[in-house]
Amino acid sequence: MGARKTSISFLNLVAPFLGLLLVLALFSALPEVQSRFLRWANLKSVATQSVIVALGALGMTLVIISGGIDLSAASTIALSSVIVAYAINAGAAPAAAVGLGVLTGGAVGFVNGTLITRLRLVPFIITLGMMGIARGLAKWIANNQKIDAPLTWANELMAKSPHPSWLVAAPGVWLMVLLAVAMAVVLRYTVFGRHVFAVGSNEAAARLCGVRTSRVKVAVYALSGLFCGLAGVMEFSRLTVGDPTVAVGLELDIIAAVVIGGGSLSGGEGSILGSMIGVFIMSFLRNGCTMMGWPNYIQEIIIGVIIVAAVSLDRIRHRRAV
C-alpha cells in the first residue's frame, strides 16, 4: 500500500510534468524557433515573465487546497502596484513603499478571509466582490490614470540583467524560487499545512477534530493576499509605473496554473510544485507562440484546450481511484 501511495502522488505530478515536457519538445522541434527557444537568454526571460503569475499561484494553491477560490487576486496585484508607486511618489523610501504594497495585499486577503468565515458566505461571492472593490480602490487612489514614479532599486527587481551580474537572473525570479520552496515545505512539513489540506478535504471532520478551521481559512486568504501584494510590487517593478488597469483577468491565469498543476476546485488536493509547473507550461506556450509569430488567439485556444484536458485527466484518475 505504501508503494501505491507514492506511485499515486507521483502520477499526480507526472501528468503536468509531461505536459511541460511536451510543450518544450514541441517548440524545440520547430525549426523556426529551435535555435532560440531553449537558449539561456530566453529561459531567463520566460522565468522573469512567470514571476507575477507564479507568486499569485503560490497563495492560490493554498486557497484552492483549502476548498476556496480567490477571484480578487489580480485586482489585489493592481492595487498593490498603485500603492507602491503612490508611496514612492509621496517620498517614501523604496523599502517602505514595497513593504506597504505587500501589506496592502495582506490586508485585502485578511478582509476576504474574515468575511468568508464570519458571514459564512462562499469564497466565490466574497472574493468576486473584493475583485471589484480592490480594482475600484486602485483606480481611485491613482485618480484613474497611471502613476509615474522616479526610478529606484525597486525597479531592478524584475530586470532581466540584474545589477550585480553574479545574480544571473532577476531578483524577482530568485524570490519566486525561494518562496516556492518555502511554501512547499510549509504545506508538507507543518501543522498548518496539514490543516489546510484537512479543511479542504472535509471541513466538518476537521472542526470535529479540533482544527480551528476559521483561523486556518483566514490565514490562507491573508497569505494569498500577501503573495498578491508581492506580485503587485513585481508588476510595479516591471512597468515602472503604478497602473490600476493592469492584470485584468490575471486571476484566471493564476487559477488555471493551479488547476493544470493538479489542484482540485473541490479542495483537498494540489501542490506547489504542480502549480509551478502549471505556471511554466503557460509561460513557455506564450513565449513559443510569440516567437513563432502565431497570433494571440492561437495561444488562447491552446491554453483553453490544456485546461480542459488537464481537468478531464484529473477526473478520469479520480474515477479510477474511487
Binding site: 505504501g2 501511495k5 512539513y189 501543522v191 496539514r194 478535504s201 471532520a205 476537521a206 477534530c209
Partner: protein
Amino acid sequence: MTRPAAPVWALEMRAVSKRFGATAALDKVDFELSPGEVHALLGENGAGKSTLMKVLSGAVRPDEGEMRLDGRPFDPAGPLEGRRRGVSMIYQELTLAPHLTVEENILLGREEHRAGFLRRREARRRIAEALAFLGHPEIALDAPIRRLSVGARQVVEICRAILDRSRVLVMDEPTSSLTQEDTERLFRLIRKLRGEGVGVIYISHFLEEVRVVADRYTVLRDGRRRGSGAIAETSLDDLIQLMVGRKMTDLFPRQNRAPGEPLLSVDGLKSARMAESVGFLLRRGEILGLAGLVGSGRTETLRALFGLDRAERGRVAVRGKSSRTGTPWRRIAQGMGMLSEDRQGEGLALGGSLTDNITLSRLGPYRRRPFLSRRRRSREAARWVEALKIKARGPDQPAAQLSGGNQQKVVLARLLHQDADILLLDEPTRGIDVRSKSQIYGWIAELAARGKAILFVSSYFPELLGVCDRIAVFHRGRLVAVRPAAEWTDEGLMAASMTGKG
C-alpha cells in the same frame, strides 16, 4: 457480569428529555453503561436512538436530565468537547478527511510539533502499535483514506478513538455496509475494546448481530425506554415485541379490489447501486408494498425502474412491452409516475409555484404555439389543489411555503394530473401529520380501485399492512419474500426485514 458493590458507570444518563416543537423525541430516558460493556441500543426509526446519541455527543442539548461520565458530571457544549472528554462517535458518514492519509487523519487536530514543524516518528510508532493491537497491521499509515475500504476506514476511526483514550465509543449501524468477513473482524475488535475497559454503545437493526456482540440491551420506543436487560436472558421475539409494541389502528379503509391484468413486470432488474437483481409482478388495481430497513434496496429498485439509475441487467415490461433501459422521460410516456422519498430535494421544485409543480410532467394540454397558456394551467392546478384539499393561498403560491403534508399532496397531485397508471411511491407519508396521512391512504386505495397499479415503499409497517394487497420484504439488497398482506404481521415484517428470513 459482575460489578463492584458501588458501581461506577462509565456513562450514566438520567431522565434525559428533549422536545422538538410539539413532539417529545426523548421522554425521561435513563441509560447506563459499564466499563467494558457492549450495550445494544435498539428501536425503530424515529424511536429516539439518534437523538439520545446526539445528546451524548454534545451535538444536541437536552431540555432536562443529567449525564455522568466515570461518575463526574458531563455536559458537553459540542461534539468537540464530548470527544475531548472521551466520548467518540463512529457514524455511518465517516468523519475522516478523504484526501489525507491514515496517519494524518488519526492525528488531525493533535499533531505533535516543534515550532510548527511536524514531529512524526513517535506518533507513527504509536499508531502502528494501535493498528496492530486492533488486529489490522495491514493498514498502511501513508494510504489516503479514500483508497481504503469502508471496513478499513472504520478501523481508522476506532484507532483514533483509542489513541484519544475514549471511555465510551458509540457505533451507529457499523455493519450496514460491511462484508460478512469485515463484520466478523469488527466483532473481534469490539471484544478487544471490551477487554480494555471501553464501553461500547452498539446501534444496529440487525438483531442477530446484536445477540452475538452485545452484553446488554436497551430498547427505546416513541422516545421512552421500554426495556433493558441482559441479552442472554431475552429472545429475538421479546426484543421485537418491545420495539414494535403497538396495536394496529383503524386508519386504513379496506376496500375490496380485484387485481386485473399484469401492468408491470420486472425481471432480474439490477443497477449499479443495487446489491442483487430483483423481480416482481404488479397488476392493475393492485397495491404492492415494499418493506425493509432503510438502505435495504427499496429506493434503489424504484430508481432503476423509473430510469433514474441505469439498469445493468434485467427487463422491465410495461403493459407487455419489454425494455431494459429507460429514462424518466420515457417512463413517464409509458404512464409511470414517481414520488421521491426526498420531497424537498427531488420531489418538488421548491421555488416554483404549485401550478408549475403540478403541471410540470404533462404540459402538452397547455401548449399554444410557442407559448404555454398560463391561465389554463393555473385553473387546472386550482382544481387539484381543491380536490386534494391542499392548504394553500392559491395555485400561484411557491411550493416552499407549504407544510410537509401539503407539499406531499402537491407531488401526488402531479402524478394524478399526469394521469400515471403506475405509481411508484417512496415513503409518501414520511414526516407528515396524521390527518394528511390518512387522506393519502384513502386516495391510494381509491386509485387502486380505479385500476391504477401502485408500488408503496414504507418503513412504517402498520401502514403497509393496512393499505397493501401484497407486501414484499427487502433485506440487504435482496428481495426476501412476497406474500399477501393478510399473511404478514407487524412482527413478521420486522423479523423478515431484520434477519432476511421470511
